[in-house]
Symmetry: C2
Subunit: 387 residues, 2 copies
């Protein structure tokens, strides 16, 4: 169900032969009525054509449909890439009988090559004919690249529903992968401002804390469509909470499926001066190549956590810092305690999901970061892609 779980949304996923493999590679999502819409986009200056197009079309805060393809990222494609994105969304508008300006677009795949627009248009016609309430799964499947599993979520609010799906092996390998997140809700969002508030406070903190390799894709996009089909207008914070829960669920699925990863790393930071500082510390630890390789090798080396916390850019007094790994005390009063037990620490790293908790002793700021280990398989996937 995922993106089609909220009332008023249908979807489909088809093979448009954009991928040589013949797997599903084009997804279409439609709201049966105009929806309030907003997005979060990559900060990469080489933003892909669909990112530029979506930003422009979301200026009015509404949308009806989303077309997404895998196989080509439509980035590094110049002016022709923008023409291709416009042509594909025009095909969607024509077949659905809606306005071009109400169609959004996302692409993921290899940077450089252009999308075969003719094949994409045929795929759009095929997908439009297959739109259904049960089509959320196919949509979520059609956006996969190196993802091993489909990532979907449904969150039930008080009288409304939030659905979502995502793709991405964790912001890793942006030329193969990319982070795309599609969120739908049948809640009434009285204005585009409510959608933007929900994205900023419900979605952004989660997606800015997911890291696999620290590489910001040219295509990263998070879209939220609120079509009001439930007739329920939740309090702004209830919508933020439901969307946040959906994002949390998807983020966990993303890092668990990250390319080459064996272990999920969750970094919970508390006691920071601000939430922003907590996020800096979380990202620094979850993104550290040294922490990641230590987790992979089950190497009981708390010096690497100290290193990553200290160079995060957050403000704190080192003497107050405490940390645990899988419940084992690894930092106390800013130092590695004489009682530190390497064997217990190694044992704790054998879990499928390793939780590092860090307390800074400065204030009430907190954040959670999502990452994964770094092993041989990551190097193989990213070093031997074309060979």
């Amino acid at each position: 169900m995922s993106v089609t779980a909220p009332a008023g949304f249908t979807a489909a996923g088809v093979s448009a032969r954009l991928k040589a493999s013949g797997k599903l590679d084009l997804g279409l999502l439609l709201s049966d009525r105009p929806a309030m819409a907003g997005g979060l986009f990559t900060t990469n200056l080489f933003a892909a054509a669909p990112v530029v197009l979506d930003k422009r079309r979301l200026a009015n805060g509404s949308a009806r449909a989303i077309v997404a393809n895998s196989g080509q990222a439509n980035a590094g494609t110049g002016r022709e890439g923008m023409e291709d994105a416009e042509a594909i969304t025009a095909a969607v508008a024509a077949v659905l009988g809606i306005d071009d300006a109400d169609v959004l677009s996302c692409s993921t795949g290899v940077i450089g090559p252009r999308i075969d627009v003719e094949r994409a248009a045929d795929g759009v016609a095929d997908a439009a004919a297959r739109l259904s309430i049960g089509g959320g799964r196919d949509f979520a499947t059609a956006i996969r690249t190196t993802d091993k599993v489909t990532k979907e979520t449904v969150v039930h609010g008080d009288g409304f529903t939030v659905g979502g799906c995502a793709k991405g092996a964790g912001m890793i390998a942006p030329d193969l992968a990319t982070l795309l997140v599609f969120l739908t809700t049948d809640a009434v969002a009285p204005s585009p401002t409510v959608v933007r508030h929900t994205l900023r406070h419900g979605a952004a903190p989660v997606w800015n804390s997911v890291t696999v390799d620290g590489c910001t894709s040219t295509n990263d996009t998070v879209l939220l469509l609120a079509n009001g089909a439930s007739g329920v207008t939740p309090a702004p914070e209830a919508l933020v909470e439901a969307v946040g829960a959906a994002c949390h669920d998807l983020a966990r699925q993303i890092v668990a499926d990250a390319e080459g990863a064996e272990t999920t790393l969750i970094v919970q930071v508390e006691g920071a001066a601000t939430d922003g500082d907590a996020q800096k510390v979380g990202r620094s630890v979850a993104g550290s190549m040294l922490v990641k390789t230590a987790i992979f090798g089950k190497d009981p080396n708390p010096g690497r956590i100290i290193q990553a916390v200290g160079s995060s850019g957050a403000h704190f007094e080192p003497e107050r810092v405490e940390a645990t790994l899988g419940g084992v005390l690894v930092v106390e009063a800013g130092r590695i305690p004489p009682s530190f037990d390497p064997e217990k620490c190694t044992e704790a790293m054998r879990e499928k999901e390793v939780v590092i908790r860090i307390y800074l002793g400065e204030g009430l700021g907190s954040a959670t970061a999502f990452g994964c280990d770094l092993g041989y398989e990551y190097v193989r996937i990213n070093g031997e892609y074309t060979t």
Copy 2:
């Protein structure tokens, strides 16, 4: 010779049994007269005890001796760590008959464990007895951890000499390694301000552009002693140039010896709005896990260069960007050119040193960044250290 190449400097390196292996692990460097001195230090908040000590002692801008050990980083060691660093420098001052305040200290090795001060003091006495003009090589050897080779340099200025040595498998694995750089010169530096100016403009641009894994150590230190023994007072820019050349030479040696690296990556950025922007782009490309794994796997994937340039934080118009890899055109007018030849690109990556040139088309800012590939060996070294 290295640090003892300039007149008035002697050095030694001994085994103080701080390392279980019995290899050289304690180095001593002495200027026969007071020297103007300055340093560049890690920005990590968990700065090691010797970093804190050196910063304090360099406030007056002069020094006579440096004691450096490998085996233990003396970081994450709390108040006791500071007492240990003070005790070791006191031993140096006593045996050399100089003031405690004129002795600087550096440590590199595992974070957490304390240094055995008794053994270190014995080592200091031993080293003091062996101080010689030919001792630069032993000093440079005693500071090695996972370094496979000793890194030394000598640059001859107009009537003065700059010597240097460094250790570090490239800012990689700060619990095993760390970047330590020792620079000496017999040039007359009329004031500590000249030394600081030389470090800021000759050394900092180089050492801020070396990256292996983006991890800032708790112990990173660059020290420069100018004892004036040549009697020559070079123009400030001549000293900057000579020290810059020495740092350049050492930086190349560092990345060539980076843990697990097979290929050196040199990123030359030109046409940036400012030198700072050029440095951002260089660091982003040289530090990108995706570029690094592509270099390792000889994967002809210019999308990864676009991704890293675009997310560097530098300001530019994407449409003006050009890039070459080993002389092969990979980005033109901000896109991957239709004429791009993957086979030529792969061929270019088979070199021991791969040069990526990036032109931003904004201004006259330029910078060079130094990095390396990321392969299985990095993962093995950093994942299996204790197992």
